[in-house]
């Protein structure tokens, strides 16, 4: 049978490798010092989709992202790794979206582009906003079940009389096995299997792939629910807080440095 999977992905600044030049003097993010990357947990989500495609070769994987032009790199990267197609939601009207407006746009796009979707996958959260809200909100808007913190798809029966998916969830202090009817939305944890590498032939093939762009009108989005207008979250101010120790020293991992530190901490009765 033909399976339709949608993977939600986001291009994010690489906040994992923050150096001293990560913020500008004005307190904004220095984008040039933080390379734009594929949100790590979205890659875990993509891998889950690709594993299903390995098992069910008639699977069609669509990757969806919202962002400026350069975010199309995320779509290409997903295609290098095995996705079949992708769309970039890009429109001035989408700008300044909070999680509510973002999930509205994504849900609307899925309705228009992949109405017969069997499974939607996304990362648990993005490393820039860390909200973990977009996936669940998309599921709500589409009226489908959601399984968050997914780690592994244990069973996937899309052609059963009542199609179901069984998933292992990573929860505090353990795991939980849950089952849901399809279609369903999964948000995938970073502890799930890492994504497979890019494939060299696909790299050669899609390096100049023009990612189709989708604007508000294409998906008949209600402008009142998009971008700034559709975002109840208002950012009052952004402040750059740098934690500063008045006096700091760098201690290496060498035995002598560690010994000296322990001695000092003992003397000052800290330990």
């Amino acid at each position: 049978m033909n399976l339709n999977i949608v993977v939600l992905a986001k291009q994010v600044p690489d906040t994992r490798n923050v150096g001293p030049d990560a913020m500008t003097a004005e307190g904004t993010v220095n984008r040039s010092a933080l390379p734009a990357i594929f949100n790590p947990e979205d890659l875990n989500a993509l891998e889950q989709a690709l594993r299903l495609k390995d098992r069910f070769p008639n699977t069609h994987i669509t990757v969806l992202t919202m962002g400026p032009d350069r975010a199309s790199e995320v779509i290409r990267e997903a295609m290098y790794r095995g996705a079949d197609q992708g769309f970039l939601l890009t429109d001035r009207a989408f700008a300044g979206a909070d999680t509510l407006a973002t999930s509205y746009a994504l849900a609307q796009a899925i309705r228009f582009l992949q109405p017969d979707v069997n499974l939607i996958l996304g990362g648990r959260q993005a490393i820039d906003g860390d909200t973990a809200q977009v996936g669940p909100q998309v599921a709500e808007k589409l009226g489908m079940n959601q399984i968050t913190y997914s780690e592994e798809i244990i069973e996937f029966l899309p052609d059963a009389p009542q199609p179901v998916i069984t998933v292992k969830r990573h929860i505090d202090g353990g795991v939980e096995i849950v089952q849901s009817p399809l279609p369903c939305l999964l948000t995938v944890n970073g502890s799930a299997a890492p994504c497979r590498p890019k494939n060299v032939k696909r790299l050669f093939r899609y390096k100049k792939y023009e990612v189709p762009r989708i604007c508000c009108a294409d998906i008949q989005a209600d402008l009142q629910q998009c971008g700034m207008a559709g975002s109840p979250t208002k950012v009052k101010a952004v402040e750059n807080i740098v934690f500063r120790a008045k006096e700091s020293r760098t201690i290496t991992g060498s035995d002598e440095d560690i010994r000296a530190l322990i001695k000092e901490l003992k003397q000052s009765k800290t330990i």
């Binding site: 497979r196 590498p197 890019k198 696909r202 790299l203 050669f204």
Partner: protein, 566 residues
């Protein structure tokens, strides 16, 4: 990029021959339009080469490098006649296959990537810098090159797509009594009339990756013969069964690479190419390819030594200062770097020559070459033949020297199983032994020394214009060459074979030092910031080494050869 370094990138892009290499490999970009992934012109091809190597870089950094220690500690095991790799070796193989990095040089019509050998060489170097043992398992796929060259179309169609899909290979050559001397191979091949196939019986020893999916086997097809002319090449398909692993060797290094003793019991096999040409033609081709592979592996190990040495020497403090600030340590590191840069220049020059001649040779199987092309093929075939033993011998010796210095820089910690340097040191040791010892590389190179071939190449390189700032250095190289030529003439004039054999290694090294100095001179001219310093260091090192060899040779004569007989 950690593994696809600026220096490798420089080697990919800086040489004008690259355009011709891509054009020949791509048959004037004839695949454009037939395959989505085929390049349309030179710029597009170069973009693909970089993309492929960037991908090798990320697979190496994300998977192979972090797995290296575990692979080394666990190693493979022999279970009921089969090899079970170290757990992480399977992970590495899977990542390579998912990345599509299999059958790298094979034509697209068999599922390959149709990349030039120089790109494959860079990939080998990079993988080796992370784990030389895994490079063996993966790069033995390059044996497919021999099957492609000499197998029938039917064999190509059956075997090449399997390798492009990730199946592994091995070359089953050596036996207990046939190591360097492959003429003595005794594994028996007999024709089974009933089953209409060949049957192999006997044993093989020291077979790297001996439980691979597809084997190329050297066997005696002509009963009653005792020399190389009775040997043929066979393809053994593991799916047919009949070959078991008797044991896996416990080795000093490259633990992740299973070295097997194989037992052939009536194993079904098919002939590859013509009978009796096994050793004379096919194994020679196989070995030349493998030698380039070991040269790349050696450069990768030298790079690893350099990286580890610098990183440790910067961190490690003694007497209140990082040890890299002490001249005695810094000199060792500068010398590692100089040998690395010079050896790498030699490696890629060789790879370019091999690419040129291999592509032309391949085209000659498709159509008649023009007389210019025939001339070109002949020229590059000789250059490849002459440069391969230099690249393999010198880089494998450098890999050992560099790993030794790297351990030395680590001091006591280097002797403990704590840092990667001890693994690099153990892994490097085999490079100057397998695929022909350095002594045999010397044998392969000596005729090009005595017949003046290298001398002509050197003269041509010396005639290149250099910047004014490099004129005095060029003059120093010219002086080295003159001393070398005089010594070669002296030895040749004695017409004493024993004297020549004894002098060979010395003349070989001197030749290699002159060639590498010239290659690095060119690099320093093109990219002074990258190579200026290492060129100066190398030139002084090369001069000192040549002086040492010259002094030795000046004391050798037919009268005192007996001192060296034992």
């Amino acid at each position: 990029m950690k593994y696809y370094t600026d220096e490798i990138r420089f080697e990919m892009t800086s040489n004008p021959l690259m355009e011709r290499i891509a054009q020949l490999k791509e048959r004037d970009y004839a695949d454009d339009g037939c395959y989505d992934e085929a390049p349309r012109d030179f710029a597009d091809a170069m973009e693909n080469y970089h993309l492929a190597l960037e991908l090798v870089d990320s697979v190496t950094e994300e998977t192979i490098a972090p797995n290296a220690e575990s692979v080394d500690l666990e190693g493979p095991h022999c279970e009921q006649g089969r090899v079970r790799y170290a757990t992480k070796t399977y992970e590495n193989l899977k990542a390579m296959t998912q990345a599509g990095l299999d059958g790298v040089t094979m034509p697209r019509r068999y599922g390959g990537l149709n990349l030039p050998i120089i790109v494959n060489t860079a990939a080998n170097e990079m993988v080796s810098a992370a784990d030389a043992s895994f490079e063996n398992v993966w790069s033995l796929q390059d044996c497919i090159e021999t099957l492609y060259c000499f197998g029938s179309e039917d064999q190509r169609q059956r075997f090449i797509p399997r390798v492009c899909a990730g199946e592994t290979m091995s070359m089953d050559l050596t036996e207990p009594d046939a190591g360097s001397d492959l003429q003595s191979v005794m594994l028996r091949a007999t024709y089974d009339e009933e089953a209409d196939c060949w049957r192999l019986n006997g044993s093989k020893r020291f077979i790297t990756n001996g439980d691979s999916d597809i084997h190329l086997v050297l066997a005696r097809s002509e009963a009653g013969t005792r020399d190389g002319r009775g040997l043929s090449m066979f393809i053994y398909d593991k799916r047919d069964g009949g070959v078991d692993v008797r044991r896996i060797e416990n080795k000093l290094g490259i633990h992740g690479s299973p070295t097997c003793e194989l037992v052939f019991r009536n194993a079904r096999a098919e002939l590859c190419g013509d009978r009796k040409m096994g050793l004379i033609k096919y194994v020679m081709s196989l070995m030349n390819g493998a030698r380039l592979g070991i040269a790349a592996q050696s450069v990768g190990l030298s790079q690893a030594s350099y990286t580890e040495a610098v990183s440790y020497a910067r961190e490690r403090k003694q007497f209140g200062r990082p040890i890299i600030e002490f001249p005695a340590v810094a000199e060792m590191i500068s010398t590692i770097r100089a040998k690395l840069d010079a050896g790498r220049a030699l490696l890629y020059q060789t790879a370019r020559y091999v690419d040129m001649y291999k592509s032309l040779e391949d085209i000659s199987r498709e159509r008649k070459l023009t007389s210019e092309e025939r001339q070109e093929m002949k020229q590059y075939s000789r250059l490849a033949d002459a440069f391969t033993p230099l690249a393999k011998g010198m880089n494998s010796e450098f890999a050992n020297q560099n790993a030794y210095d790297c351990v030395q820089i680590h001091g006591g910690s280097g002797f403990m199983q704590e840092y990667p340097c001890q693994r690099i040191y153990r892994d490097a040791r085999i490079t100057s032994i397998y695929e022909g010892t350095t002594q045999l590389q010397t044998v392969a190179a000596i005729r090009y020394i005595t017949n003046g071939f290298y001398q002509n190449v050197i003269q041509e390189m010396l005639s290149q214009q250099v910047a004014e700032s490099l004129l005095s250095q060029q003059e120093r190289i010219r002086q080295m060459e003159e001393n070398l030529s005089a010594l070669v003439a002296n030895v040749r004039d004695t017409e004493n074979q024993e004297l020549l054999d004894l002098s060979a290694r010395h003349l070989y090294e001197m030749t290699a030092y002159v060639v590498m100095s010239l290659l690095l001179l060119r690099n320093a001219q093109l990219a002074p910031d990258m190579f200026g310093q290492s060129f100066e260091v190398f030139l002084t090192y090369a001069e000192s080494e040549c002086q040492k060899h010259a002094t030795f040779l000046s004391h050798i004569s037919p009268d005192n050869l007996r001192n060296y007989r034992v």
